[in-house]
């Protein structure tokens, strides 16, 4: 009888070991609810780091509070689990202090769009070279299911038992409006796609905004669920030109979950470049807006 057991797994294990993304994890097991989309995001992030060959010690991750805020604890890098809503300023501080570091800001929807919402326009217009991972599960998870800035209208939550009365924010639209130079939306279940976008985002010189849609498996069983995301998932059309701002805006207005790279302006100078005296309005498309 032929031995057939884990041969598939065995190959995969070797493959995974070769890939080396494990080097970007800490020994701590993530504490998110099983099935949480954040696992997917995390997985794609370490894979992107691996793909780019980043050195652990040269990665700094600043996060806020909330489920997403726990992220740095699970990533082998210099991590800073900060206070609610402030991952962007802290990440910018790190980047401003240390041009040589790769800096991630990580936060949830409440973190980045709610309490820390004021920082988003400014990081976008300043174009400081950090990568912002917005883990958007459209709910306040760690405080047990209250309405967040992206909770769909009329969804029943623990803070709005009669349904959410607030119109949700549109993060991608916002980022585009604020002038972010790299804007993408990802789907937490699509590791390959995320990895691809993350790699581009991290390489982008300037602020990259990554809106990552993830279900909250514990507090939203109705609206943004794995099943619904899987079924409605649409990729950005292949004909879309990421440098086309107007097309990006149009897509961002589309209520359907479109995932992919919306907008990328590689020519825009980062804050640091601007500081270095390369200020020239002609170079920047954003000045047109």
């Amino acid at each position: 009888m032929e031995v057939l057991k884990y041969s598939y797994l065995d190959e995969k294990i070797d493959e995974v070991k070769e890939q080396g993304f494990l080097n970007y994890r800490t020994s701590e097991l993530p504490t998110w609810c099983p099935g949480c989309g954040y696992f997917g995001i995390t997985h794609a992030m370490v894979q992107a780091c691996d793909a780019l060959g980043l050195k652990n010690e040269e990665i700094c991750v600043a996060s806020g509070i909330g489920c997403a805020g726990r992220y740095p604890i699970f990533m082998k890098a210099y991590g800073f689990h900060t206070v609610h809503g402030r991952s962007i300023p802290i990440a910018s501080g790190i980047k401003l202090a240390r041009q040589d570091l790769t800096v991630f800001a990580v936060g949830g929807d409440g973190d980045i769009l709610g309490i820390g919402g004021g920082h988003l326009p400014h990081i976008a217009r300043k174009n400081i070279d950090i990568t912002l991972f917005l883990f958007d599960n459209s709910i306040y998870g760690l405080t047990k299911g209250q309405t967040s800035p992206t909770t769909p209208l009329s969804q029943v939550t623990n803070s709005h038992s009669q349904g959410n009365p607030d119109t949700p924010l549109r993060p991608v639209f916002l980022a585009l409006a604020h002038g972010a130079s790299f804007v993408a939306r990802c789907y937490a279940g699509d590791v390959e796609g995320m990895k691809n976008i993350f790699t581009q985002a991290i390489s982008h010189k300037g602020f990259s905004f990554l809106h990552i849609v993830s279900p909250c498996v514990t507090f939203d069983k109705v609206n943004i669920t794995w099943k619904r995301l899987r079924e409605n998932f649409r990729a950005v059309p292949s004909v879309h030109d990421p440098s086309d701002y107007r097309a990006a805006i149009q897509m961002a207005e589309d209520p359907r979950p479109i995932f992919g790279l919306f907008y990328h302006d590689p020519s825009r100078q980062s804050y640091q470049e601007n500081l270095r005296g390369k200020r020239s309005p002609e170079n920047s498309k954003s000045s047109e807006r």
Binding site: T26, E28, K55, N56, E57, E58, C60, A62, I65, P72, I73, K76, A77, Y78, G79, F80, H81, T82, V83, H84, R86, I88, P89, I90, A91, S92, G93, I94, K95, L96, A97, R98, D100, L101, G118, H119, P121, H122, K126, Y271, L275
Partner: protein, 588 residues
């Protein structure tokens, strides 16, 4: 040769150049070899009708306090000046515009309020300004010119000073200012008969002033930051700290640093904490309302053991309060603002010199002790221009404070190792093998969130313990006056210390055995020194510019004795006279 000690106040509306006139005067006088102490008080409105007062004390001897009463009041705006009159000495001099464009009612003209014993000189400020430059803007220069004429100030030297002040401006600006000055000077010389005793002529001055700097507290702060290797300044404009940002905006990039103006104070401290985490020196400056916003992230710096320096130039509070008045009412929030048991180092310079020293110390202590350092200035100290000796070069040790982990320590790296001193070696991002997570959650030695009672207890102790050693690194508290049998011991902090010193000296002259104790380092408190002082005193007085006696309250448990308080919240610096009165009262 005579001695001089003259307080000049220029009072006008915002936008009339009141402050710049005061500045020009102070700088010039300082450059002439006078000791100066000047500060401005201005409204939060930029234009319009807010009252501005440029206050300068000019003397050939050491100045310890701004002086309670003005000797000379230049009234650029009558309405404001009337309200400023109470601060004029009974025998003071008022220079006013005697040809305003409109007729003023009796009670709306300063001249109508001048008390008997005061001297008033009317100068057609507006008319002369318009004559000199075609507009009203030069009124301040006209007034300065008049001043120079009246009190025998070297006009040529002053013109040179004005020229250099506006050196970077267009020629027309320089010319209009100079012309205005000239008009005022000449008109006054020609038309006014001097009947007062004040003069700046024939004053005994120190030989050389070359190694001296004429700076205010904010400038001292900025300079200290530049000299201490500041890499990042993040700030949001707020009176009275904005000046620091403005200076650093210009100077920091030259040194390879970055000044970033953020969207709010939260982002500012965020940037600072981020940069601190990244291993660079960073600071922000703000005032009470901004500091309130910062407390959360300031607390994070404490918990996460990240260096961060906040300069808080205090103003009247609470809330937006009195933005352009001085007060010492942020002590409580500086000491313990934020949630939880949040130990931090608090430094309160008492003079402009100490502003320089204090900030360089702050940056060092923050880096070494990996925590939040708050430098408490106040409106007065920030804006008080002093002529100070060039500061000593910063202690080299202070330029490099971080204790990096050794290779052995990196093998099993515990970022928050509970060492004997409480200081854990800190790996800077980029250090291979030193990866760690720091968090605002209570954490284990490795930095992993951990909430058990033992950890929280030990880590809280560690955070308190580690800053204790700062007492030995900061300058010793100053004890001025007799060492024993003190009848009234004054303990003062921040800018009030100068006035207190003056008061104590005056009291001693009156035969009262008074002494002063002040410390730049407020937290951790050099309690031993204070206790020693307290033991030598029959009575203890703590004068401070707040209503609740924050420092006295802070001190009370350390001294464990009754403390007399002198609390004033007038928006003005504490004057020596006020303290002296209290000392007298207590001595009897």
């Amino acid at each position: 040769m005579t001695n001089v000690d003259i307080v000049i106040e220029i009072c006008g509306s915002a936008g009339e150049g009141t402050i710049s006139a005061g500045e020009i005067l102070s700088r010039f006088m300082s450059s002439q070899g006078f000791e100066i102490m000047s500060f401005d008080s201005y409204p939060s409105e930029i234009r319009g009708f807010g009252k501005c007062v440029a206050h300068s004390r000019i003397s050939n001897r050491k100045i310890l306090s701004p002086g309670k009463y003005a000797d000379i009041l230049i009234a650029l705006k009558d309405a404001h000046s009337i309200s400023q009159l109470p601060s004029l000495r009974e025998t003071g001099i008022v220079i006013y515009d005697n040809k305003p464009p409109n007729y003023l009612e009796e009670d709306k003209s300063i001249a109508g309020w001048i008390e008997p014993g005061m001297i008033s000189y009317g100068v057609p400020l507006l008319e002369l300004a318009q004559k000199a430059a075609g507009n009203s803007r030069g009124r301040n220069m006209v007034a300065i010119g008049a001043l120079a004429a009246l009190f025998q100030i070297d006009d040529e030297a002053m013109k040179a000073s004005i020229r250099s002040r506006y050196a970077k401006k267009k020629q027309i600006v320089i010319d209009s200012n100079l012309n205005s000055f000239q008009e005022g000077f000449e008109w006054s010389k020609k038309n006014i008969t001097k009947i007062d005793p004040y003069t700046f002529r024939n004053v005994r001055l120190k030989k050389s002033n070359k190694s001296r700097a004429i700076i205010n507290g904010n400038q001292a702060v900025a300079q200290a930051a530049l000299d201490s290797g500041l890499h990042l300044y993040a700030g949001y404009p707020i009176t009275p700290a904005t000046k620091i940002m403005e200076i650093l905006s210009k100077e920091l990039p030259k040194k390879g640093g970055i000044m970033i103006q953020t969207e709010d104070e939260i982002a500012a401290i965020g940037n600072v904490v981020g940069a601190g985490f990244a291993g660079k020196r960073a600071m922000t400056a703000t005032s009470g309302p901004g500091f309130s916003l910062m407390t959360e992230l300031a607390n994070l710096a404490v918990m996460a053991e990240v260096p961060a320096v906040i300069i808080n130039s205090q103003r009247g509070g609470p809330s937006t309060g009195v933005p352009t008045k001085t007060e010492q009412s942020d002590l409580n929030i500086a000491l313990s603002g934020g949630s939880g048991d949040s130990p931090r180092i608090v430094i309160a310079p008492t003079t402009v010199e100490e502003c320089y020293l204090g900030v360089s110390l702050a940056l060092y202590l923050a880096e070494k002790y990996q925590t939040l350092v708050v430098v408490l200035l106040d409106f007065f100290l920030s804006n008080s221009i002093r002529n100070i000796p060039m500061p000593e070069p910063i202690n080299k040790k202070w330029l490099k404070g971080n204790i990096a982990p050794t290779k052995t320590e990196l093998k099993d790296y515990k970022r928050f190792k509970n060492t004997e001193s409480g200081i854990s070696p800190r790996a800077i991002p980029g250090t291979p093998g030193g990866m760690f997570v720091t968090t605002g959650l209570e954490h284990s030695e490795q930095g992993k969130p951990q909430y058990d009672r033992e950890t929280h207890h030990q880590m809280t102790r560690k955070r308190f313990r580690k800053i204790q050693n700062a007492i030995n690194e900061a300058p010793k508290p100053q004890w001025r006056g007799p060492k024993k049998d003190i009848s009234v011991g004054v303990i003062a902090w921040g800018s009030t210390a100068g006035s207190a010193q003056e008061a104590v000296i005056k009291a001693q002259k009156e035969g009262i055995k008074a002494a002063l104790m002040s410390s730049m380092l407020i937290s951790p408190l050099p309690a031993d020194s204070f206790r020693k002082f307290s033991k030598a005193c029959q009575k203890i007085l703590v004068p401070e510019l707040n209503y609740s006696g924050q420092f006295a309250n802070y001190l009370a448990p350390y001294l464990n004795r009754p403390i007399e308080r002198l609390n004033m919240v007038t928006g003005l610096p504490m004057s020596a006279e006020d303290i002296l009165d209290k000392i007298r009262e207590m001595a009897n």
